[in-house]
């Protein structure tokens, strides 16, 4: 599903050059659930952003579901993100003026699905997350766990092949974190969606099939859980 070889990334800020990814090789099969761990600043988010086509790499090759990701224009990139990728962020990133249902339906809006239809589908997903009653609430009226479940529903609605989650439980307490992980493992099992989860918590990482450790921009360890 994901196949990267020798990925490099350097950030340039003014005269400073920061070589963050120093040749990453990684293969992720369809349906795998993988966690990524590493010290702060080791380049986990950078890797995930490149995989999410939110940022571009300097060197190396990236194949997403067989498609070579290189020199894409922004329209094409948007289309690929919409079709293949779902994102879950630490800070939820819900759109503040849209209610829960509208937030979940957003990816379908960009596919030009009619409002009625996409809202109906969004309601199904909210129901699965146990949030049906909250469908008409704005994000600022919801708890962190609720927000993250809405974000997950949003990541799922367009039936992506891969879900990229950057510290999805980072802003949640341990009980809620486990609930969120329950949902994610469920989805991974039942829908065979590939998952990459960046986390700092060992007990979260333990719930995935494999854990990749990144140290200073390189993969130093791959552990089966």
């Amino acid at each position: 599903m994901i196949d990267i070889t020798n990925i490099h990334k350097t950030y340039i800020t003014g005269t400073n050059k920061l070589h963050v990814l120093k040749g990453i090789d990684l293969k992720v099969d369809a349906g795998e659930m993988i966690s990524v761990m590493g010290a702060s600043g080791s380049g986990k988010s950078t890797l995930l952003n490149i995989l999410g086509i939110l940022d571009n790499h300097d060197h190396g090759e990236y194949l997403l579901s067989g498609i070579k990701i290189e020199h894409l224009n922004e329209s094409k990139a948007a289309q690929l993100r919409n079709k293949y990728l779902g994102f879950v962020f630490q800070s939820f990133n819900l759109v503040s003026f849209k209610n829960a249902m509208e937030n979940v339906a957003l990816p379908l809006y960009y596919q030009n699905v009619k409002r009625k239809k996409r809202n109906a589908i969004a309601m199904e997903y909210l129901d699965r997350m146990g949030l049906k009653e909250w469908s008409h609430h704005l994000p600022n009226e919801l708890s962190g766990g609720q927000k993250q479940r809405i974000a997950i529903a949003r990541a799922l609605i367009a039936k992506p092949k891969v879900i990229l989650a950057d510290e999805p439980t980072g802003a949640l307490d341990s009980v809620t974190s486990q609930e969120v992980m329950d949902i994610l493992t469920d989805i991974n099992k039942n829908e065979n969606i590939t998952m990459l989860i960046v986390t700092h918590e060992l007990d979260i990482a333990k719930r995935t099939q494999k854990t990749i450790r990144i140290t200073d921009g390189m993969i130093t360890e791959i552990v089966k859980n």
């Binding site: 952003n49 999410g52 939110l54 940022d55 571009n56 922004e74 329209s75 990139a77 948007a78 289309q79 993100r81 919409n82 079709k83 994102f87 962020f89 990133n93 819900l94 759109v95 503040s96 003026f97 849209k98 509208e102 957003l106 990816p107 809006y109 960009y110 596919q111 409002r115 949003r154 367009a158």
Partner: protein, 420 residues
Amino acid sequence: MFDLDRWQEIYHVLKKNKLRTFLTAFGVFWGIFMLVIMMGSGDGLKNGVSQNFGDMATNSVFIWAQQTSVPFKGFTRGRRFDYENADVRALGDAIPEIKFLAPRTNVGGFNGSNNVIRGLKSGAFQIFGDYPVLDSIDPVNLLQGRFINELDVKEKRKIVVIGLRVKELLFEKNENPINQYIQVNGVYFKVVGLFKSKRTGEAASNDNQRIHMPFTTCQKTFNMGDAIGFFNITSKDGIPVAVVEEKAIKVLKKRHSVAPTDDAAIGHFNLEVEYNKMQGLFFGIRVLVWIVGIGTLFAGVIGVSNIMLVVVKERTKEIGIQRALGAAPRIIISQIITESVVLTTFSGYFGLTLGVGLLEFINYLLEKTGAGSDMFLHPGINFNVAITALAILVVAGVVAGLIPARKAVSVKPIDALRYE
């Protein structure tokens, strides 16, 4: 297609900072408002001044006789002379460019002593001997009866057509003047028509104090021989009346033994030249109004563009989220441009409406109080201008949104997402 999500977003953005939205909108509102008011006033000025011409053929020249200033053919300078009936024929024969030729005789009285009497009432009015053709050069509004006709001229009938003010001064309020008699310089004339000037203001009140009678009647009754007071001549369509003017003066000089070099002997006034000067002035005013108006509007549009830039900056993260979820650049761009167009068009529409409303109100006041003058009348803008202004607003909105929209999609999605 109506897209609720899009309008929801626009509403959210505009509502978020109401004061800022209002101030921005006000810039555009003011621009278009000023444009409308200035255009309307310009037109009001034009209408007012144009009304001084009434429906008069503007390709007119007036020619009258003065004193010679150069001795010629045995005559000394300072000689007075009159045009005569034979000149009419001679002018017509010599100048094919003439369309209408109306000779006129006049018996003074206006501003002088009372010269018209009816019973116990009397007044001082201007009295003209005219041909029916006058009605084609300088028409009036006939309120009652008829104008002078050919038969009147041929039979030298003792009839008059009187102006409204004449009727008011000589007749009772509800009296019908038609077929009544009035005494002009001691001679009785039958009133056959009553008219009102097509002009406004002072020009109109002058017109309304006139009495017209057949040309021939006037000459005969008041012992003028075949002397003519002046000629009013128009040129054929497409020919400048100056051509006719020049030729007519030449013919008249020759016929009355006036030296070709004598510029003082023959008085003339070319209405067309004056009219064109005025048209040029109005054109200038119009151009100026557009320049100033568009300038003001432009300032408003810059304001919109500026605010859109701020909005885009504020919403960087939100736009980043949308792009991460698969919003193509064109969706983001069209969203921002729509916002900008909505802002300019709405505020511009209010400016337009309020401007037109104010002009209508002024118009209403002018009409109600009768204050419409020979300087200002019927201010207003025409429909095409309004449509043009709206079109300009929409285009301006697009232009104002373009730079901010491009800016919104020029950053990498990740940078947008990370923006704090």
